[in-house]
């Protein structure tokens, strides 16, 4: 049976163990390896090239963000799921910008962990109203504000609609019903928005670097 390989990078041994158990107990998931710090995580990624990476942001050596960046650049097929305590905007948006497409709350029940890993790999990224709001602010600024940086991606109308409904607290099912599309399609829009946020943050970085004279045209 084909199994989804999942790598776990988490410095807290209890959580690491909990994640590992949740993965191993699911028949369709396979633990590619578990690392306790960033450098071990990096080595793990290089050797195993997993399908999904579960990563904590607060690692003792290399930051989780660095790991996410590496993954986004070197392992484009790998879905990155960041592990947070609260799923708050500050942590999640930073990870999304680095290239993550999902997040997992630390208190999630074990059976739900496996389910969320499957959903993410199938293209279904979760989104909270606050995160949706942040995406709208970054990617579809009001006309009165400064125009987006050159080359920055723009949200499509459907993506805009999905994010707007998400800020109002509607679930994927409800949004799919309202827009007369499948739930999967709605999730695709969300994932695309995450990718655009990543590109946007890159082009913003380039734009800022140009302004500072760090980069030539």
């Amino acid at each position: 049976m084909w199994q989804l390989s999942v790598a776990v990078v988490e410095d807290d041994p209890k959580f690491r163990q909990a994640f590992a158990q949740a993965i191993e107990s699911a028949p369709d998931l396979k633990l590619a390896g578990a690392a306790a710090d960033g450098s071990a995580g990096l080595a793990l990624l290089k050797t195993t090239r997993p399908d999904v990476l579960l990563v904590d942001l607060g690692l003792p050596d290399i930051g989780g963000i660095e790991l996410i960046r590496y993954c986004a650049a070197q392992l484009p097929e790998c879905d990155v799921m960041v592990v947070t305590v609260f799923g708050d905007e500050h942590h999640v948006v930073g990870s999304l910008e680095a290239g993550a497409t999902g997040y997992l709350l630390k208190d999630t029940l074990p059976e739900d962990i496996a389910e969320q890993i499957r959903t993410l790999h199938a293209g279904g990224s979760p989104i909270s109203p606050v995160i949706a709001r942040q995406l709208l602010t970054r990617l579809a600024p009001a006309a009165s504000q400064a125009p987006p940086a050159e080359g920055a991606p723009v949200l499509s109308e459907r993506e805009l609609a999905v994010l707007t409904l998400a800020t109002k607290g509607f679930t994927y099912e409800e949004i799919a019903q309202m827009m007369s599309v499948s739930k999967h399609t709605v999730m695709t829009y969300v994932k695309r928005s995450y990718r655009k946020l990543q590109v946007n943050s890159k082009s913003e970085a380039v734009y800022e670097a140009r302004k500072l004279g760090l980069l030539r045209d």
């Binding site: 606050v130 800020t167 607290g169 509607f170």
Partner: protein, 638 residues
Amino acid sequence: MKLASWACCATSLLAGLLLSVLLPAWAAVPGGEVAVQHFTSAERQVVPIGPSLPEPGVLRPDLSEPGWSQVALPLATPRGPVTPGLQDQPWAMHWYHLRYVLPPSGASPPLAVYGARVLGGPVEVHVNGRLLLANRRQWTSQWNRPLFVPIPHDAVFTSPGIDVVVDVVVGVPVRAGMTHALSTLWVGPADEIRAMADRRLLLHITGPQVTTLTILVLGVFSFGFWWRRRSESAYLLFALASAAWWLRNLHYHIDLPPPGVLHDWFWWATHASMGWVMVLTYLFAFRFHHRRYRGVEALLTGVTVLTGLLTLPLVPGDALVLQHTLNAAVSIFVTAFITWVAVRHGSHELRVLTAALWICIALGVHDILLLSQHITPESAYLLPYATLLVFGAFLYAVLRRYSGAIAEVEQINASLEQRLAERTAELEDNHRRLRAVEREQALLLERQRLMRDMHDGMGSALMSSLVLVEQGKLDLPSVAQVLRECVDDLRLVIDSLEPIGHDLVTLLATLRYRLGKRLEAAGLQLEWQVDDLPPLPWLDPTAALQVLRIVQEALTNILKHARARTVRIALCKAGEHVEVVVTDDGNGFDVATMITGREGGRGLRNLRKRAQGLGGDVDFSSQPGCTRVTLRLPVLRD
């Protein structure tokens, strides 16, 4: 700079003009035998006439008579300061003879006679015995006009082998005691002689006319300036000075009236106005310097009025020389005073003006000497040109002051801008500091709120649970329950701090996102119904936490007590309020007894208290199958 170059130009023009007249063109004589001859001496004969002067032509010069003696030209007998009235003195004719000889070529070009001036009497000119000019009626106009007489062809006898002789006799009839003057004379080809006379006319008449009119135009300009700015009286003085100067020089512009009362008054006006020119000029200089010297000004005005009165035509005698000498003395005194002022605390402009005034005085003294026949009548009156210099200095001063004012304005503007920029920077700095203080204040308040919240909520819950656990009175599921509640509450605190832009919908959406799974797990179906709501400006993290707690409490109550199957959360706007309506289809409760009751009532009262703390309220309505909790919040809060 412009003015200086202009003045320089004018000076060189003037110098050129003078040179061309005073050093006439011997060099211009062509190589032919007919040359201009300059006579610096003449034969003179004085013939007494008697009490009355006969018509011209009656008395003729006789070259064969004895009594001719040689005199040098120019000839001038100085006038006294005052010329007494000599109406009853006998006349005497002064003949001056000169002989112009051409070689015996048998032909002669047209010839003419020229002299710079003949003063003192009505001149007449005889050539080879024929009377060519007699200026009896208009002789007073001779004072500044050159003598020019073309010699008709038939007055000259030509024959081959015989010298062409031209005997020119200039006659000046003068009463005994009167003075007269005669410049050197020139005889020669009419073309060249006419050119010399024209140049002389240009220097004597046309030049002063031009300068006078120029100054008058400046005066009009100055008057216009004063008209717009009445407080600047200096410009009015300048205008009046230029007008007085124009009056002074009126005799350059119009033909004099014939001798008589009108003639006398005309001359009086022109001479008296010289004094007024001086007064106004000096007053201008003082005003321009922004100083008043009342004593000097009174003295000036007094002297001018006095000399004007003393020289009225009604007073016998002619005090012209005395009058102008007095003027010169007064102007030397005042100019010395101005010089003292200029040296002590004068501006650059006043110094230039003073220099011009001194030049003016020098040339004025020259003119008085010319008038009183102390120097050669060949010279020209120079005061009109000097005055141009003075007015030029005025103009220079005005221009300098004007450009100085502009520069000052520019400087003031620049410094204003700089001060404005400084003030703006200061304000920005203050603003920034204020913002920082505000931010710190907000952070402090936030921290205090969190502390209080943790102290009263999570802290006390954990503490009491800890005591129970240590006493072994709390079983594991209860511990998990306590911890779960703590995490939930912590999550509410975190969510209340998220950036939601005062949007109640997003705030409650977050709550739904959090609780959705749990409600589902409890078998509750959630209906979510939201309208677009306006942002609530008062919805800061503190208020957001209260709202979250109220709604979470309502949901928790349903989970714990209602045994409902569906719960509906609706957000809508109702007038000046927004409403959050939580409806369930559970058992319901008796609102009245619950509110007044001791145990369960505390929770509801607590909800109401929290809502009222936000400026809103909570309504309860319940019957089996439909229990509704309505949280009403204002859109705007004081």
